[in-house]
C-alpha cells in the first residue's frame, strides 16, 4: 500500500509543476504584468516603478523569478492583495468554509439521489423509470445553472416566499444553524442538479458494467438473493469508478459553485473570484486559480488512494 501511495504522490509532482508554470505564465500575461496596480496609479513615478521592480525582483531573469515565486507559494507566501495589502492566502482561506458547506451539501445530495436513481435504472434497465431517468439527466445537464437558479428564486423566494433569495444568514442571525439551513436549501438544489444528473449516469453505467460480469452470474448460480448480489458483490466493484468520479468532478464543482454563489450572493470562494475580477485584483485571481488547481490535484490523489484501499488489484498491479 505504502509503495503505491508514494508512487501516486510522485506522479502528482509533475502536475503541480505544470500547474505552477501555467499560473506563473497567466500572471505575466495580465495587462501591465504583476505591477499593473502601480503603473495605473498616477501618483507613482517611473523611478518609483523601477525601484519596485527591483524590490520585487522583476529585473531578474524569468527563471529566477519563477523559482522565487514557486518557493513562495510552497512556503505559504502567496503575495498580497492590491487593495488593503492583505496576504492572499488568508483572504482565500477565509472564504473556504462557506464554499465547502455549499459544495458538501450539494455533493451529498447528488450522491444519494444520483446513486439511487442510477442503481435502480441499471437494475430495471429499459423500464419506464430508466427511460425517464436517463432522459431527465440529459435535461438537467442542459439547463444553464444560473437560469435554473433564477427560476428557483422566482418560484420559492418571490412567489411562494418560503425561502430567502440569497445570502448565508439574516442580518443579526449570524451563526444560527437553522438560519444557515434555510439559506442553504436553494443554492444546494441548484448546484446539485447537474451533479445528480452526472452521478445517476455514471452510477447506471458502472452498475450495468458490473452486472454483466461472470462473478455475478456465479453468485446467482450459488443461490444468493438479488439483495445479497447487489450489495455484497456489485456495489464494491461499481464503487471504484464512482470514487474516481469524485476526484474528476472537483473542477466542475468549483465552476458550478462560482455561478451558484454569484446568483445567491453566497459569501464563498466563487463570489470572491467574481468580485476580484471586477476589481482587477490579479493576486487574488491567480491565488484562486492555483488554490483550486492544487485542491483538484490533492482530491484526485485521495480518490486514487481510496480506490487502492478497496481494490487490491490496483495497489498490486501497474
Amino acid at each position: 500500500m505504502i509503495p503505491y501511495i508514494l508512487r501516486r504522490i510522485a506522479q502528482a509532482i509533475p502536475l503541480l509543476v505544470g500547474v505552477s508554470l501555467i499560473g506563473f505564465g497567466l500572471m505575466h500575461l495580465a495587462p501591465g504584468g504583476p505591477l499593473a496596480v502601480y503603473t495605473l496609479n498616477p501618483t507613482i513615478t517611473a523611478q518609483d516603478i523601477e525601484r519596485i521592480r527591483i524590490i520585487f525582483g522583476l529585473d531578474q531573469p524569468i527563471h529566477v523569478q519563477y523559482l522565487k515565486w514557486a518557493s513562495g507559494m510552497f512556503s505559504g507566501n502567496w503575495g498580497y492583495t492590491f487593495f488593503g495589502g492583505r496576504p492572499v492566502l488568508d483572504v482565500i482561506l477565509e472564504r473556504l468554509p462557506a464554499t465547502l458547506i455549499l459544495m458538501g451539501s450539494a455533493l451529498s445530495l447528488a450522491i444519494v439521489l444520483g446513486l439511487s436513481v442510477g442503481t435502480l435504472g441499471a437494475v430495471r434497465r429499459y423500464s419506464v423509470f430508466d427511460a425517464l431517468a436517463t432522459t431527465g439527466a440529459v435535461f438537467a445537464l442542459s439547463f444553464p445553472t444560473f437560469w435554473f437558479g433564477l427560476m428557483a428564486i422566482y418560484v420559492f423566494a418571490v412567489q411562494l416566499r418560503w425561502l430567502p433569495s440569497g445570502g448565508m444568514f439574516e442580518l443579526g442571525n449570524e451563526g444560527d444553524p437553522l438560519d444557515l439551513l434555510r439559506h442553504l436549501i436553494l443554492p444546494t438544489m441548484v448546484l446539485a442538479l447537474v451533479l445528480t444528473a452526472q452521478w445517476s449516469r455514471y452510477a447506471r453505467s458502472a452498475f450495468l458494467e458490473v452486472l454483466g460480469q461472470d462473478f455475478l452470474r456465479t453468485a446467482r448460480a450459488k443461490g444468493l438473493t438479488q439483495q445479497q448480489r447487489l450489495w455484497r458483490h456489485a456495489f464494491p466493484n461499481a464503487a471504484k469508478p464512482l470514487i474516481a468520479l469524485l476526484g474528476i468532478e472537483l473542477p466542475l464543482l468549483f465552476s458550478g459553485a462560482l455561478v451558484t454563489e454569484t446568483i445567491f450572493a453566497w459569501p464563498g470562494m466563487g463570489r470572491l473570484f467574481v468580485d476580484a475580477l471586477t476589481m482587477k485584483e490579479y493576486p487574488i485571481l491567480m491565488g484562486m486559480i492555483m488554490f483550486t488547481a492544487i485542491f483538484v490535484i490533492v482530491g484526485n490523489l485521495l480518490a486514487d488512494i481510496a480506490i487502492a484501499l478497496i481494490d487490491p488489484r490496483v495497489r498490486m498491479g501497474a
Binding site: G18, S142, P144, W147, S255, L258, V259, F273
Partner: protein
C-alpha cells in the same frame, strides 16, 4: 437479420440513428435553430437594437406587432432572440472548431508518436484538467477585450482536453491496424500517415465529441455573458439578455424565461443529437455498455 447484414454501413448507421427518437427531435431542433439564426435578418420583424421607450415592457401576446413582448428599452424580444441565437450559435460553432482542431492534433500526435512526446502532451492535458474551466476562462476573458472571436477562441482553448484523450485512445487502437503498416511500408511520411490514414478513421468519435462540444460551448458562452465578460451589449446574446432580465425578473419573469428556454432548447438539441450519433456511429462508446 439478413437484411441488416446486407445493409451498407451507412444504411446501418442511419437505421441506428433513426431508432433513437430523441436524437431525431434534437436534430430537428438544431436544424430549426440554425435556420432561424441564418435567416434572422430576414425573419426578424424588427431591428434588434431599435429603441423605443414608448413601448417598454410589453408582455408577450399583448401586441401582435411584438409577439414576444419588449424589454426595458422597448426592443422587440423576438428579434433579439433570433439575433442572439445567431451570436450564440456562432460562438458555439467557432469554439467547437477550435476545440476539435486542438484536441485532434494533440491526440493524434500523442497517440501516433508515443514515447516522450506522448508523455509530455498527456501531462499537459492532465495539467489543464486541474483548472476549473470557468475560473480559467474568466481570468483570460478579463485580460483581453471581449470580441466574438476572442470569446470563441478562449472557450475552445480551455475545453479541448477530453477530445485529445478520446482521439489519442482511438489512434492507439488504429495505429496497430494493417492499413497503417501498409502505408508505412509504402514509404508514407509520418505526417501523411497521421493526416491521411489516421485522422479520417478517427472521424466517428470526433463527430460525436464535436456535437456535444457545441452544446457545452453555448452553455459556457451564456455563463460568461451572464457574468458580464462575454458578448457585450448592445449586441444581443441569450446570456446577456438574461443578465438584463435579472433586474426585472420578480415582476416580469418572461424576460428571463424566454432566453433561458432558448439556451436550454439549443443545448438539449445538441446533446440529444450527440447521444444519438454516438449510439449510431460507435456502439462501443455507448453510455450503457
Amino acid at each position: 437479420m439478413t437484411a441488416a447484414l446486407e445493409a451498407s454501413p451507412a444504411q446501418r448507421v442511419m437505421a441506428r440513428f433513426a431508432r433513437h427518437r430523441l436524437a431525431l427531435w434534437g436534430g430537428l431542433a438544431v436544424m430549426l435553430l440554425c435556420a432561424a439564426a441564418l435567416f434572422a435578418p430576414i425573419v426578424a420583424p424588427h431591428d434588434p437594437v431599435a429603441l423605443d421607450t414608448s413601448r417598454r415592457f410589453l408582455a408577450p401576446f399583448q401586441d401582435w406587432r411584438f409577439v414576444l413582448g419588449t424589454d426595458e428599452l422597448g426592443r422587440d424580444t423576438l428579434s433579439r432572440l433570433l439575433h442572439g441565437g445567431r451570436i450564440s450559435l456562432t460562438v458555439g460553432l467557432v469554439a467547437m472548431a477550435t476545440t476539435i482542431l486542438t484536441g485532434a492534433v494533440i491526440g493524434i500526435l500523442a497517440g501516433y508518436l508515443g514515447g516522450i512526446a506522448d508523455t509530455l502532451l498527456m501531462r499537459f492535458v492532465d495539467t489543464m484538467l486541474c483548472f476549473p474551466q470557468v475560473f480559467l476562462l474568466l481570468v483570460v476573458a478579463a485580460f483581453i477585450p471581449p470580441t466574438l472571436l476572442s470569446i470563441s477562441l478562449i472557450i475552445g482553448l480551455t475545453s479541448w482536453m477530453e477530445v485529445a484523450r478520446i482521439v489519442r485512445a482511438e489512434i492507439l487502437h488504429l495505429k496497430e491496424q494493417d492499413f497503417v503498416t501498409a502505408a508505412r511500408a509504402l514509404g508514407a511520411s509520418p505526417f501523411r500517415i497521421m493526416a491521411v490514414e489516421l485522422a479520417p478513421n478517427a472521424l466517428a468519435p470526433i463527430l460525436v465529441a464535436a456535437t456535444l462540444k457545441v452544446a457545452s460551448a453555448v452553455l459556457i458562452e451564456s455563463y460568461i455573458s451572464y457574468l458580464g465578460y462575454g458578448v457585450q451589449p448592445p449586441l444581443a446574446s441569450w446570456g446577456n439578455m438574461l443578465t438584463n432580465a435579472q433586474g426585472y425578473f420578480d415582476t416580469l419573469p418572461w424576460l428571463a424565461i424566454l432566453p433561458g428556454a432558448m439556451i436550454t432548447i439549443t443545448v438539449l438539441g445538441f446533446n440529444f443529437l450527440g447521444d444519438g450519433l454516438r449510439d449510431a456511429l460507435d456502439p462501443r462508446l455507448r453510455m450503457d455498455p
